[in-house]
Amino acid sequence: MYSDKVMDHFMNPRNVGEIENADGIGEVGNPKCGDIMRIYLDVEDNIIKDVKFKTFGCGAAIASSSMATELIKGKTLEEAWRLTNKAVAEALGGLPAIKMHCSVLAEGAIHKAINDYRIKHGLEPWKDDKNYDDDHHDIGE
């Protein structure tokens, strides 16, 4: 049911781990739904120098975390903010419909980590119109 890309990123996830004293941390999901994603950012001159993740969830959730962190590494915060869940899913060669919410979680965790960084630096958080923590299964497709 999973593409080769998803399986590759699940079996060999990139950027697993944590960053001590990270500049921004974002976490979405809840254990009730069976998935939690936490993303750590290391930011220098508005550029994401390093990114790590920890995920409790299914194969698609881990693969989405891995792919999303790959896609934002080295990007500006603005570029990272614009990463959509669809782009993550497409980069993975598609996700089964019922697993689309995993890519939504990745988008949400990145948004939260960026806003965590902005708040820590006395900046206004960017506006996010989605609530990534509940009913995330309904978002996406």
């Binding site: 944590e18 409790f56 959730a61 881990i62 019922i98």
Partner: protein, 395 residues
């Protein structure tokens, strides 16, 4: 595929067909293919093969041959028992009692009947998955026409106090059905001693073919037909009989019930070796289901901090086949209704793994799983933010 080791531990999902069973079936695909309803010799031979299988099924559960009806599997038997009894006894009442941990063939049938005006009570189970008998007794009303409680649970393996339930149902004059799909070959069953009025079974759970099962209906119990058609199965179940399947079912149940005690002792020893090894080697692991009153081949454990689908995918990469009650693998949003019914929090239910052992499993299989599984669990825990929280909180 490379020549890596394959360890199949999902026998509760389905089993392979034993060579003796296949051999018994084969002639009925080719030479002895006659329609059992035909009067000529070829048809009569088919008829007698079916009756021979019926006798074997009857013998295996302590029933009479004329009380056995062949079906297209366990789900059909469950549907027929529940709908058939409900509609035939509508004049007496509209109340049905079942449990929260039944197979979906029962639960979804009951849900359908609720839309038809029936009332259904779903009795709770305790933390080990055993039916609350007091609640069962207390939920009986004058309108109760049917009690359906599974013999043994497919997920957590818990075996129910079927004799006691049979006694309660008999005292109150209520029809008692049990879904024994997981129990056949693992538990001694006698429908007369246990006061069972109807019983469902499916061949593919005990080394027979898929797509064939049977419903036992005690003489004198009236149920409506489910499959209307020709006069097959003494006018109770229309459709030309699945001749090779029925022959296979007969052979498989004969083999499966020939030495239940011996089979249990062997499988249980392997299961306990595996279970004890898992609990010893993997911390923060919980056994789900009853510690003793459980199917001999069943293991169901929850590993804290991880999710089951990822676990299955990694096990698959190592050639190990199991299953999980995590929502993520089933396509639904909630984890297993059985694990929730025994009181597990969602996140613990998501981290469950079921390994169900069977006839071909060996000590080498067990040792291989005990070598691979702890590494896989640790690998997923190392990725888990819940584990990170736990470790940091514990410092």
């Amino acid at each position: 595929m490379d020549s890596k080791r394959i360890v199949y531990m999902d026998h509760a999902a389905t089993t392979y067909v034993k060579p003796e069973v296949l051999e018994a079936m084969l002639p009925y695909f080719t030479e002895q293919f006659g329609n059992p309803s035909s009067v000529y010799t070829l048809g009569r031979k088919s008829r007698s093969a079916i009756e021979e299988a019926r006798e074997k099924v009857a013998k295996a559960i302590g029933a009479l041959p004329e009380e056995i009806y062949f079906t297209g599997g366990g789900s059909e038997a469950d549907n027929w028992a529940i709908k058939g009894a409900a509609f035939a006894n509508r004049a007496k009442g509209n109340h049905i009692i079942t449990s929260k941990i039944e197979h979906h063939a029962i639960l979804n049938t009951c849900e359908f009947l609720e839309k038809q005006g029936f009332e259904v009570t779903y009795v709770s189970v305790d933390e080990n998955g055993v039916i609350d008998l007091e609640e069962l007794k207390n939920s009986i009303t004058d309108k109760t026409i049917l009690i359906s409680i599974m013999f043994a649970n497919n997920e957590i393996g818990t075996i129910q106090p079927i004799e006691e339930i049979g006694r309660i149902a008999k005292e109150r004059g209520i029809i008692f059905h049990t879904d024994a799909v997981q129990a056949i070959g693992n538990v001694e069953i006698n429908v007369k001693d246990m006061n069972i009025d109807m019983l469902s079974l499916a061949a593919h759970k005990f080394y027979g073919p898929k797509g064939v099962g049977a419903l036992y209906v005690r003489k004198g119990i009236r149920i409506e037909n489910l499959i209307h058609g020709g006069g097959q199965e003494r006018k109770r179940r229309g459709g030309t009989e699945n001749l090779p399947g029925i022959v296979g079912l007969g052979k498989a149940i004969e083999l499966a019930t020939a030495d239940i005690e011996g089979h249990n002792a062997r499988i249980r020893a392997l299961r306990d070796r595996l279970l004890n090894g898992i609990l010893e080697k993997i911390p923060y692991t919980k056994l789900n289901g009853h510690p003793e009153k459980r199917l001999p081949g069943n293991i169901n454990v929850s590993f804290k901090f991880i999710e089951g689908e990822g676990l299955l995918l990694l096990l698959d990469q190592s050639g190990i086949y199991g299953s999980t009650g995590s929502a993520c693998s089933s396509g639904s949003l909630d984890p297993s209704h059985v694990l929730l019914a025994i009181g597990l929090p969602h996140e613990i239910a998501h981290g469950s793994l079921r390994l169900s052992l069977g006839d071909k499993n060996t000590e080498e299989d067990v040792d291989y799983v005990l070598d691979v599984l702890p590494k896989i669990v640790q690998r997923l825990r190392d990725m888990s933010p819940l584990y990170e929280n736990f470790i940091k909180g514990g410092r």
